[in-house]
Symmetry: C2
């Protein structure tokens, strides 16, 4: 039957000529990956990429094949030695997860299945539906809640705010656009809101000015009285308040807004309540922490990540929307009766593309599904509680140390502190703590990041790491004290200047 002018061929090597070659290479990768996890503690947390290695990333577009094995050698030589560092037991920078090993293997399985998880019938959308049902149960949301896995909270916040926008607009904003709204649509968040919130306002055509920044109190929680005053002022001035964004875990300190109070305000003023719970929402897993999140389930929409405080590898976040109809109405392209009557491979499960921005969606649900089955929710609960105990342990160590001070009380899993020297001026202390932080990072000892709190530069330790041990925090405390003393003295400061100036 085959056209003799067109003989069979083998995908020009895109599939291997010999599957056993790729099999052997795959087994080598497994060995290297496991060896890498096993030896994490012996390596520096982070190291800069050497100039020679950087040079290698300037080679031209490869035209000829070098083969899978040779390409993998390049990965081993130039890429894998220079990770971001967040798998290491002493990485506490920004809010990055530490990465579950089993979930990394799930990425292999998902890549091999190569599912695009839209609405077509296959196991992948069923896995995502189940994962979403589990996540709702996990955070105490009703089963009727609509949900979607996303690449992370930037996307989840956009989805939640897009539903808020079209749900509260007095016109069909999908069709007519923002220009057709009779009054300026405005919304509210505290000054501690994550940068993805104003970015969402920009993307959605509301403009960053539509986001009213409400002051936070000394503990970095939104000032609810100021919020109510702002809503009333906007109403008086002819704007249309439509939404409040609550922080469940601010990025700087882990502060949690009074969600129940915000829910009351939203109810009184007919506003949408969106909760940005990137990592903080996960504290719900520990029953003793639930009072801090009281009112969480009154959110109209909730954004949270699983690649932060659920320790899963990048990327996986989630968004909940209580009103499933509003969720679909904000995104669906096709009328629901159409997909429901399709047969065959396009038969209906949930058409996820109708609940978000992306049509092509990778099978990120699989790693969540495998991790929850393998480890059970209780392991996550215990580990989150452990991170909180570690935060308390670190705070106590800092408070007990004569040369260190806690910058602010610790509301959750983030500890902000700094080296102090009674003789130094305020600006000198800021510079000194900056220098200590850079030295901590470049030495590979530990990787916290920084924050500026009440005008002061502080070392910020965000603990969403399942590999940290108590001794790791002792190492941090001792290193900060030692580097502070070293760099704070004339000698140390000169030494740093010389080091920075060297080629």
């Amino acid at each position: 039957m085959t056209d003799p002018a067109h003989p069979l061929r083998n995908g020009y090597g895109l599939d291997p000529e010999d599957w056993d070659e790729l099999r052997r290479l795959g087994h080598r990768m497994v060995e290297d990956v496991i060896d890498g996890f096993e030896s994490l503690r012996e390596r520096p947390v982070w190291q800069p990429v050497p100039a020679e290695t950087r040079e290698h990333f300037r080679t031209p577009l490869p035209l000829e094949p070098m083969g899978a094995e040779a390409a993998y050698e390049e990965f081993r030589r130039y890429v894998s030695p220079y990770p971001r560092g967040n798998s290491h037991p002493r990485f506490w920078g920004w809010v990055n997860g530490s990465g579950l090993p089993l979930a990394a293997f799930a990425e292999l399985l998902a890549g091999a299945m190569n599912s695009s998880v839209s609405g077509f019938e296959s196991a992948a959308p069923l896995v995502e539906e189940q994962v979403l049902a589990w996540l709702k149960e996990m955070l105490g949301f009703p089963a009727s809640t609509s949900a979607l896995l996303t690449s992370g909270c930037s996307m989840s916040n956009i989805v939640g705010l897009a539903v808020a926008r079209s749900s509260k607009a007095p016109v069909d904003v999908r069709r007519s656009g923002i220009a057709a709204t009779p009054r300026r649509m405005v919304f509210y968040a505290s000054s501690e809101a994550h940068s993805s919130i104003p970015k969402a306002a920009e993307l959605l055509g509301l403009g960053s000015e539509a986001l009213r920044s409400i002051p936070a109190d000394r503990d970095f929680r939104i000032d609810a009285d100021a919020l109510e005053a702002a809503i009333e002022a906007d109403r008086r001035n002819g704007a249309q308040p439509f939404c409040v964004v609550a922080n469940a875990g601010t990025v700087n300190t882990g502060a949690i807004d009074d969600i129940a109070r915000l829910a009351d305000i939203c109810m009184a003023h007919d506003l949408w309540l969106h909760v940005d719970g990137a990592f903080g929402a996960l504290a719900w897993l520990c029953p003793e922490l639930r009072p801090k999140l009281a009112g969480l389930q009154r959110a109209d929409s909730l954004a949270f990540d699983l690649h932060k405080w659920m320790y899963l590898p990048y990327d996986v976040g989630c968004v909940f929307v209580q009103d499933a109809r509003a969720h679909r109405d904000a995104f669906a392209v096709s009328p629901s009766y159409l997909s429901e009557t399709m047969e065959g491979a396009a038969a209906r499960t949930t058409s996820f593309a109708d609940y978000g921005i992306e049509l092509s969606r990778r099978f990120r649900a699989l790693k969540v599904w495998l991790a929850l089955k393998a480890h059970g929710l209780q392991s996550f609960e215990q580990q989150i509680r452990e991170n909180l105990r570690q935060a308390a342990f670190l705070a106590a160590r800092v408070e007990a140390h004569p040369d260190l001070e806690l910058a602010v009380p610790v509301p959750l899993n983030i500890v902000c502190f700094r080296y102090i020297d009674r003789k130094a001026r305020a600006e000198e202390l800021d510079q000194l703590n900056h220098d200590v932080l850079i030295r901590l990072q470049t030495s590979g000892i530990a990787l916290p990041s920084h924050a500026v709190l009440h005008g002061r530069f502080v070392i910020r330790t965000a603990i969403t790491n399942h590999r940290s041990e108590y001794s790791d925090f002792d190492i941090l405390v001792n290193a900060v004290a030692r580097l502070g003393a070293e760099l704070g003295s004339g000698t140390g400061r000169n030494a740093l200047a010389q080091r920075s100036g060297s080629p």
Copy 2:
């Protein structure tokens, strides 16, 4: 040093107690993954998920750990047997890539490194920078072009149109929003544009009405004269035309708009030219196809996917923006001097978050980097050319067959055809071809999808598969002819009705 009240523990099993257990499981996965690739051809393209299996996806949230091995057994039993089908040699539905095996393994490596590819110094952003440089070279764009990897063309289209919006708006639209624009901002695409284009208009607050749908000609290319007339009419009516979206490969037939003509129009009217080249842009790899894409490099922004006609597993797409400054100005949160002066782990490479929507970005560049190195660009060029020859081969087979007809000429890699029966009425033929398609899919023989062209239901074969052989298209042609005859006869139709009605 360790607090005696807090003994060491091992992440509550989130890292394995015994690494060799996960090592063994990883090796089993490698065997299963490779066996799966090797046996693809022996399996049905697609099969529905049985009711018993669906039932399994309704089990409650797992509280207790079942262990990694048991969880993997569930994957083997309930998930991996029911893929979407797009890895199979006879999958030609929608436009899904067939998935490179090496790239699936790259997902394991990326998952284990667990990089968030924002601006912080590590190998991952350097890999992404190199991949972007290669992609620009591959498609003939200047090195000065700004670029970003995305989850796919839905996102790439949003990014391109967001830059167009803020670049062409007479006000600071990021700050003030769409409501502040003095005239209604409108843009243009043909009636064949992908659904992600009106969806982007909605998301960006422009509203789907801001997208003017311009008629296509008989070959599904935009009517450029009608476009010019529409631009002029909008101008007269007080709107502000700001952008034209060109299709490089429409989803239904693979038609390519006259990009050079559209570039001229955009230049004459000071409009942004965005090209949606999801799969079609990749035809540039074959020099003999470049005339079809003439003018491609005049696009202000270009969206394309690598998980379609570059055969990579989901997800990976890309967006180019010629004006790097405009790209950054549309998204950057922090002034550039800030990040440039940071030292340590936050030292500057490209801050990718300043060029798009997401702050957390997974290391999807790795699979592109490994695949281009291992296979070389020439393998992709050859395979794309092969898919085009296969499309011509299929079209010729259809034309030579007395019971089949080609629906439209084949401009690229998509072949639309149908079973014909001279005695049948038009609606009967639509129904018959629908039934043939469903039977093809449910039988597991082949998986094309459908389109409605000039009002007629046709079987649509989109060839972006590196595993298809010429004999696979013979199987398709013969199956359509056989099923058409079977189902077209009274017996066949009754048999189908009975089958559909059975539980």
